[in-house]
């Protein structure tokens, strides 16, 4: 029996990413090197953007020996090189046992292609990059991880060409760069671009034992903004910074007087002896967001931001000489339209809509803001924002803010931790149309069933903060509100609260 062992390569990719092309290049290069090579894959519907793998084995030819028997499936603990086109897929392979400290060199792109679960979460469903990277590093014999997607974008090529270069650069396969270049050259399409990507990948990892540069932090630190320390000096540092941002935002949103109202609310809260840095920060953040609620005037104002068109051009990769048209999809409903009216008149119209069953009616509009006709309509709406303080929507929003601040102030008396959680509940109220209605419904429910009883001592104050936190998390679990209803019902059953009358009040 001979001790020869094949070199085994597993590629973890997503369907449609070009993993098959990569595997094909490597196969061809291996043949050119005179190796035995076998490649398998699992195509089919799995190729439609789902996770998939390609598996290759290589063995030098030995004189007189038979054709080797190569495995069709990768075996955990028996993979020499793992190539991943995305960070989560790399971590998936680690968990499945295909990356082991004795053997595996992991070559991976660290960018994320978010899964549907992560994308569709109602808040932030993203996995933490750092944890995924730590797993990859922790289990690989050698981990070559970097933002190869950015490298590919810089070269204008697909990721697979860069990965091919990285594999050869890392020196983990018995395949030389020249065979790879030949394999890429024999391709039908985009040969020059792919070669460029290959060379970039090769150069990036070519230096022996080059330490991979650290992966860029996902969220860039917010740019320094000029803040007036005097205006927010009464707040602790974090809250002060947020408040400075809030002032800037609200001045732009309405005017300096409006921003002063914001500061007045914060000053009143800061005067409370139990108001600590955390609650002030939470309120500074959410009060600014809630006070800059997204009404029709605001949308019109944002749509005509001067920096916007340059951003669009850049993102759409328009070339010099191209003309770019932007068509906004707007569909104001009764709330958006009559919300601009004075409270009594607007209220009358809204009641009419309710009586006639017109709440669901709305006016679909496609406005071309790059053309004068579209521009001037938004311009007019934006200019009307001076009218905002006298509008129905403003009255409603300010009533909400007052209620929210009232709950926070009262909670400070009872349990400052609960006050923070109540402040955080402002996250639930946001957006437009159905999203806004859902948020208000959830807030009303939490307020009536958990916050008010908590404030009046209907249940143990030790449970207060946690109940509100759990309710907020439950509200973000599903758009139908099922998780929240279940959570509240379970909590009331445990706390022995009979909530039927309040339930009616909340939904009325």
């Amino acid at each position: 029996m001979l001790r020869d062992e094949p070199t085994r390569l597993l590629i973890a990719a997503m369907g449609g990413e070009g993993g098959g092309v990569l595997a094909g290049w490597i196969t061809q290069a291996a043949l050119a090197e005179g190796l035995w090579v076998q490649r398998t894959s699992v195509p089919g519907v799995a190729q439609r953007t789902g996770a998939t793998t390609y598996y290759l084995e290589f063995l030098p030819r030995r004189d007189g020996a038979a054709q080797p028997v190569m495995a069709l499936n990768p075996s955990p603990g028996r993979v020499d090189v793992l190539v991943a086109t995305e960070l989560l897929e790399a971590a998936r392979m680690v968990q499945a046992g295909y990356v082991t400290p004795e053997r595996t060199c992991l070559i991976g792109a660290t960018h994320r292609v978010f899964t549907v679960d992560e994308k569709s979460a109602m808040a932030d469903g993203r996995l933490e990059d750092a944890a995924l990277i730590a797993q990859c590093r922790g289990f690989a014999r050698r981990a070559v991880l970097d933002d190869l997607g950015a490298l590919a974008a810089a070269q204008g090529c697909h990721l697979n060409a860069v990965l091919m270069g990285a594999i050869v650069g890392a020196g983990v396969l018995p395949i030389g760069a020249e065979s790879c270049r030949a394999a890429i050259r024999s391709g039908a399409r985009a040969v020059e671009v792919n070669l460029r990507g290959f060379e970039a990948g090769l150069a990036h990892f070519g230096a022996p034992d080059a330490a991979a540069p650290p992966v860029a932090a996902r969220e860039a630190a917010p740019a320094d903004r000029a803040a007036d320390p005097a205006a927010t000096g009464f707040l602790p540092p974090e809250a002060g910074e947020l408040a400075a941002e809030g002032v800037r935002r609200l001045t732009d949103y309405q005017d300096a007087g409006y921003a002063e109202t914001y500061l007045a609310h914060l000053r009143a809260l800061a005067a409370h002896p139990a108001a600590d840095a955390a609650v002030l920060a939470a309120v500074a953040r959410h009060l600014a967001i809630r006070m800059s609620y997204e009404d029709t005037f605001r949308v019109a104002q944002l749509k005509l931001r001067e920096s916007r068109l340059d951003k669009v051009r850049g993102e759409a990769r328009a070339r010099p000489g191209d003309l770019v048209d932007v068509t906004e999809y707007l569909k104001p409903g009764p709330e958006e339209i009559f919300g601009m009216f004075p409270p009594r008149l607007g209220g009358w119209f809204m009641q009419l809509c309710e009586r006639r069953g017109w709440q669901g009616k709305s006016i679909p509009m496609k406005l071309r803001t790059t053309r004068f006709s579209g521009f001037i309509r938004l311009r007019a709406l934006g200019a009307l924002r001076r009218w905002r303080p006298r509008s129905l929507r403003h009255a409603q929003e300010m009533a909400w803010v007052a209620q929210w601040l009232d709950r926070i102030a009262r909670a400070l008396e009872r349990d400052p931790k609960a006050a923070i959680e109540i402040a955080e509940c402002a996250r639930l109220v946001r957006g437009y149309g159905a999203t806004l209605k859902r948020g208000l419904r959830n807030w009303d429910l939490i307020d009536a069933r958990l916050i008010e009883p908590g404030l009046t001592g209907d249940y143990a104050s030790t449970d207060f903060a946690d109940a509100v936190l759990q309710a907020r998390l439950a509200a973000l679990k599903d758009p139908d509100g099922t998780a929240l209803d279940d959570m509240i019902a379970a909590f009331e059953a445990a706390a022995g609260i009979d909530a039927a009358p309040r339930w009616d009040a909340a939904v009325a």
Binding site: M1, L2, R3, G15, P43, G44, V45, Q47, R48, T49, A66, V69, M70, A71, L72, N73, P74, P76, G77, R78, R92, V94, Q95, V116, D117, K119, S120, M122, L127, A131, Q135, G138, F139, R225, L242, G246, R249, I289, V299, L304, R308, V312, P320, G321, L323, V324, D325, V326, E328, K331, G333, S362, T369, R371, F372, F375, R379, Y432, G433, T435
Partner: protein, 715 residues
């Protein structure tokens, strides 16, 4: 077609002395040409879709050899096509995905097997089992047993696969019985090499036609009383003939030393995985130099009792390595041992799991248990298994559970908007029963749509709604693709529904191709130079069949689809209501549109590229839009707002501008964050003039139009 094989197809013309490099399925095709087939056909489906794709794209080669090619409308048609081999000395091969295709073909297969064949008949089935499989997990083996069809399960290296293709025709002819070759998913796609032989033109073919039909012979009909004689003939003549052929030609491979206390009997298809574990145990190496006696069954039905008996005689025990349930081979081996009165202990599903794929880990465990029982030291294997367990524990400790990444609709897929509309309807009218079907649209069973109450087979959705529509308050919706419609749905579904006056709703995804299997043409596909489509009119077909309520919708108009669904749900009109949901498969469309656009732009023609965009300043990070779409190009990115923390929606540059985002935000009244961006490349004079006037007016009213890098570039 999704994949082009034009480069690979050249290797089909290789001759003796040349080395073929390619995937398993292409090698099978070459094997067919080397065997002198007269006709080929089949129905597409992974993992054998490529077999048909290759055949279609190599029509020139086929016609040089006089081979008749048929793209059948379903597997029953493909199986029935083999009838040509009953009377005539014609070799033929058909292919499909199993188990499902074999189910559809079952009637014809039974009749074919009863009559028996004169010319070799080969059925290549893709055994869609285990990792990557998309159908119910059953074994094709059952059909081989019940119909007396021989089953070939080749050891998956290309020389052996090709050799077994050639031998299968000989076996078929020697025993007057059709032969099935089952190829597992990875075997279909395994890339390897073999020494080619010359292609052989059949004596009788499309270019050398048979002058006269076969004379009348009642015994060639599967009709009583001939069927009684045929049943006896299967057992008394055909079976022994097959067993004799298998022995004489050494189709099953005896490996490892003679003698020994223990032995292994394995399905050919599992050999490579088994060898890797034997190598771990120190009982083999990468060249398959086994030190444990092994019988590799390249033919798993029929078994040859004398061969099994000779292998087992004198051994304390044998292990049968057989994937899937029930354990047909193990049962047969047990019976052979019992009848031969051998004391050899039989192991199989007692040490290996009764169900599920035999992965490396599973095989390793079973093999280690077997070796330990008989005093062999599997320490190398044990070390490996222990390391796997340790790794799993360690990985679980540090890593959070990872979200799955199931396949989804492609970017811009025309089927996604229909499911968006159905989700909106569910929100408005409450849930309805949804009968799902086979095809891309089955991806709507995954998040974010999570729709579908049952899947009963290809083209079966409407038929599976029959009793539901008769017993439920709200009308059920059956979803079917145009592939399923022509495969089966038209008759089992539509005709039956009309006939029984069922009150249901059928949505037919008219994307123009059999997309899930690789964008093959259908009878209703557009006729064209390259395709085989005939442009059959589904609407006319439905009306002719008596469907009164037929609506056509443009899928991307979500509000319109929504309204049509609502109308179908609420109309007083009874009977079947069919919505033809029109939208060309985006994969096919992009393959056509992209190169054309690139060419136009390069030659200076005016071309408009459209994509969508999310305004990160108005997006509040609720992601309702994603829950109604799930498009791969609609994703998230960090929130640029220093006060907000939830990520905002973001459209990346894979966007093909299908417009669903905007339509959904309109239909669902989501938010004002979506914008359509039209990039006018090589703008004309009129474009520029209009833009200049507009910009001047905007400036006049205090606006600042887009920065004009184009101003420099303009002539």
């Amino acid at each position: 077609m999704e994949v082009s094989f034009h480069e690979e197809i050249e290797s089909l013309t290789l001759g003796a002395g040349q080395t073929f490099h390619g995937e398993g399925i292409l090698a099978v095709t070459k094997g067919l040409l080397q065997s002198g087939v007269s006709y080929v056909g089949g129905y597409q489906g992974a993992p054998v879709s490529h077999l048909l794709d290759v055949l279609l794209q190599s029509e020139d080669i086929l016609s040089d050899l006089g081979i008749h090619l048929e793209t059948c409308t379903n597997e029953a048609a493909a199986a029935a096509m083999l009838a040509a081999s009953i009377n005539y000395p014609l070799r033929g091969c058909v292919t499909w995905k199993s188990i499902v295709g074999t189910n559809v073909a079952a009637d014809a297969l039974s009749n074919l097997a009863s009559a028996g064949v004169t010319g070799g008949a080969l059925i290549v089935v893709g055994e869609d089992y285990g990792e990557g499989a998309s159908v119910i997990q059953e074994r094709t083996h059952a059909y081989a047993l019940k119909s007396s069809i021989w089953l070939v399960d080749p050891r998956p290296n290309l020389p052996n696969i090709v050799g077994m293709v050639e031998k299968s025709f000989e076996l078929s002819e020697a025993s007057a019985t059709p032969v099935m070759m089952e190829l597992r998913i990875r075997a279909c796609h395994v890339f390897g090499s073999f020494e080619a032989r010359d292609n052989v033109a059949a004596a009788h073919s499309a270019s050398h036609r048979i002058a006269e039909p076969a004379r009348f012979d009642y015994d060639r009909l599967s009709h009583p009383p001939a069927t009684f004689r045929q049943e006896v003939d299967k057992i008394e003549r055909r079976l022994p003939a097959a067993q004799d052929f298998i022995l004489r030609h050494g189709l099953n491979e005896r490996m490892g030393p003679e003698g020994g206390e223990i032995g292994i009997i394995t399905q050919g298809g599992l050999f490579n995985g088994l060898n890797a574990r034997l190598a771990d145990a120190g009982l083999s190496d990468v060249y398959g130099d086994l030190s444990v006696p092994t019988l590799v069954l390249n033919v798993t039905h029929p078994l040859v009792p004398s061969q099994i008996e000779a292998f087992a005689r004198g051994k304390k025990a044998v292990l049968v390595v057989e994937e899937g349930a029930p354990e047909y081979i193990e049962q047969a081996v047990g019976q052979i041992l019992r009848k031969a009165d051998l004391r050899t202990k039989l192991h199989g599903k007692d040490l290996l799991p009764a169900a599920g794929e035999y992965t490396g880990r599973v095989l390793g465990r079973g093999l280690a248990a077997f070796l330990r029982l008989y005093g062999q030291d599997p320490s190398g294997l044990d070390d490996w298994l222990a390391a796997l367990d340790a790794h799993r524990d360690a990985a679980q400790e540090v890593g959070q559970p990872l979200p799955p990444r199931p396949p989804t609709f492609c970017t811009g897929c025309p089927e996604r908007p229909v499911f968006s509309a159905m989700k909106l309807m569910r929100e408005e009218m409450g849930p309805v029963h949804v009968s799902a079907d086979i095809g891309c649209h089955a991806l709507a069973t995954f998040p974010p749509f999570s729709q579908g109450n049952s899947i009963l087979g290809y083209g079966m959705s409407l038929a599976s709604s029959a009793a539901v529509s008769g017993t439920q308050a709200r009308r059920p919706i059956s979803v079917m693709g145009d592939g399923g419609f022509w495969h089966n749905g038209l008759l089992t579904g539509v005709a039956s529904s009309v006939f029984n006056q069922d009150d249901g709703i059928l949505v037919v995804m008219n994307n123009g191709y059999s997309s899930a299997t690789g964008v093959q043409d259908l009878p209703s596909s557009r006729p064209g130079k390259s395709g085989r489509g005939k442009g059959l009119d589904m609407e006319a077909t439905l009306r002719d069949m008596g469907v009164k309520w037929v609506r056509r919708v443009d899928n991307y108009r979500v509000s319109k689809v929504f309204d049509t669904l609502r109308e179908a749900q609420t109309t007083e009109e009874s009977g079947l209501k069919v919505i033809l949901a029109d939208g060309e498969c985006q994969l096919a469309r992009q393959r056509r549109v992209r190169p054309a656009m690139a060419k136009a732009v390069a030659s200076g023609e005016r071309a408009v590229r459209t994509r969508f965009w999310v305004d990160e300043e108005t997006c509040t990070g609720d992601h309702s839009c994603i829950r109604l779409s799930g498009c791969p190009s609609l994703t998230i990115k960090p929130n640029p707002d220093p006060l907000r923390t939830d990520p905002v929606a973001h459209v990346n540059n894979d966007c093909v501008g299908c417009g669903l985002c905007g339509e959904v935000s309109h239909a669902a009244q989501l938010c004002p964050s979506f914008a359509q961006i039209d990039i006018i490349q090589n703008p004309g004079r009129w474009d520029r003039l209009r833009r200049s006037v507009s910009d001047a007016l905007i400036r006049l009213f205090g606006g600042r139009p887009a920065a004009r890098p184009d101003a420099v570039a303009a002539e």
